[in-house]
Amino acid sequence: MDFLIESVLKVAVVFGVLLGSVAYTTLLERKFLGRLQVRHGPNRAGPFGLLQPLADGLKFFFKEDIVPANVDKPVFILAPVIALVPAICIVAVIPFGDSVTIFGREVKMHITDMNVAVLYILGLSGIGAYGAMLGGWASNNKYGLIGAMRSGAQTISYELAMGMTLVSIIMMSGSLSLTKIVAGQTFYWNIFFQPVAFVLFIIAGLAEINRTPFDMPEAEAELACGFNIEYSSMKFALFFMAEYAHMISLAAITVCLFLGGWNLPFGWEVPFVPKIFWFIAKVFLLIVFFIWERGTFPRLRYDQIMNLGWKWLMPIAIVNMLVTGVVMTLIG
């Protein structure tokens, strides 16, 4: 019973923090993109536009929810939920920090420590593609359908490269559990040994969550918004939230796999700073990086995206894995 109560409390806290981060990541993105384009970004709602996410959220509730006449209604309504739920469920396996003691009870800073965490993450990000696919298909709209098909093909292609990249990390840590992978990085982070895998993972991850320069499924200029073209009101907001939740969880997973999770490198310790602070700082910096590259890179053409995934990332990932294997066998 204690276990159940603790789990529900943890889930509630993480869920709330995640939703808050999603809301404020949208503001961060709009502000920072604005600055990159030499304008202010939202600055009317509250000081520095800090109430903008709240205003947006309220507005979504009070907007008319248009359901076009010839859509596939049940799928059309469920698709945003199908997009959002896996995006949120990914955070279940992410360890945020060491254990802390609250009211004399040791509480681990993760929702659950799954021994197949990496598989769970890959599986859920695969399911996330269904949201966009079903949404675009159910809209019965040509732009939506093209966006959906592109999204599906792109996601599965890059999931392959991502899965291949992770093999070398798993070889080094000998575990699929994120908690164990982080625990193995107290002294040397994985990025020191696997810089190539890190770059591959970031590229594949950006493509998998459909972010610029891989935002083909949305491609405003040619598809007018892609798979969510027929969506309005709260349904559109759910797609939007799923995208940002994916972005945050990608940053968190990258931190756990490559950047030492809540650890500082070389076993450094700073007194009086809780370890979760380092985790949050790294995730924040990665998100800033994701926004920065969105403001910097132009969008790739679709054939270039598929070429990059299948003809470059895949072979490099395989070679990286082989090199890792040879080196590890040689030094025993």
Binding site: F3, N140, K235, M314, M328
Partner: protein, 118 residues
């Protein structure tokens, strides 16, 4: 063991309840004034050609099949990678044979033009 998955179920219920809940609330709060023009399929103001459900390029199906094959092979690599240190040189050579077969298939679909998008 199974206990590790209970929190995942709880999180799933939270997320599903949240998603369906906000949809319900917004459908209660938002106005409903449907008109024929509003409910028409959006096509940049042009007349809507009847079928959006047209046959898709065969490329997508080829990519999906190639993905299935290779993803299953990647999943085979995972248990090996977890046990890599204890398997030693013998396990590594065994996996090289497996990878070689995988690469033959990869070279084949490349040469056949499955990966070409014009």
């Amino acid at each position: 063991m199974l206990q590790n998955f209970v929190p995942v179920l709880i999180l799933f219920l939270f997320a599903a309840a949240f998603g369906l809940g906000v949809l319900l609330i917004s459908s209660l709060l938002g106005p409903k004034r449907p008109t024929a023009a509003k409910q028409a399929t959006y096509e940049c103001g042009m007349d809507v050609q009847p079928d959006a459900r047209r046959p898709l390029d065969v490329k997508y199906y080829l990519i999906a099949m190639a993905f299935l094959i290779f993803d299953v092979e990647v999943i085979f690599l995972y248990p090996w990678a977890v046990q890599f240190k204890s398997l030693g040189l013998f396990g590594f050579i065994e996996m090289l044979v497996f990878l070689f077969i995988l690469l033959v298939g990869y070279a084949y679909i490349w040469k056949k033009g499955v990966l070409e998008w014009e």
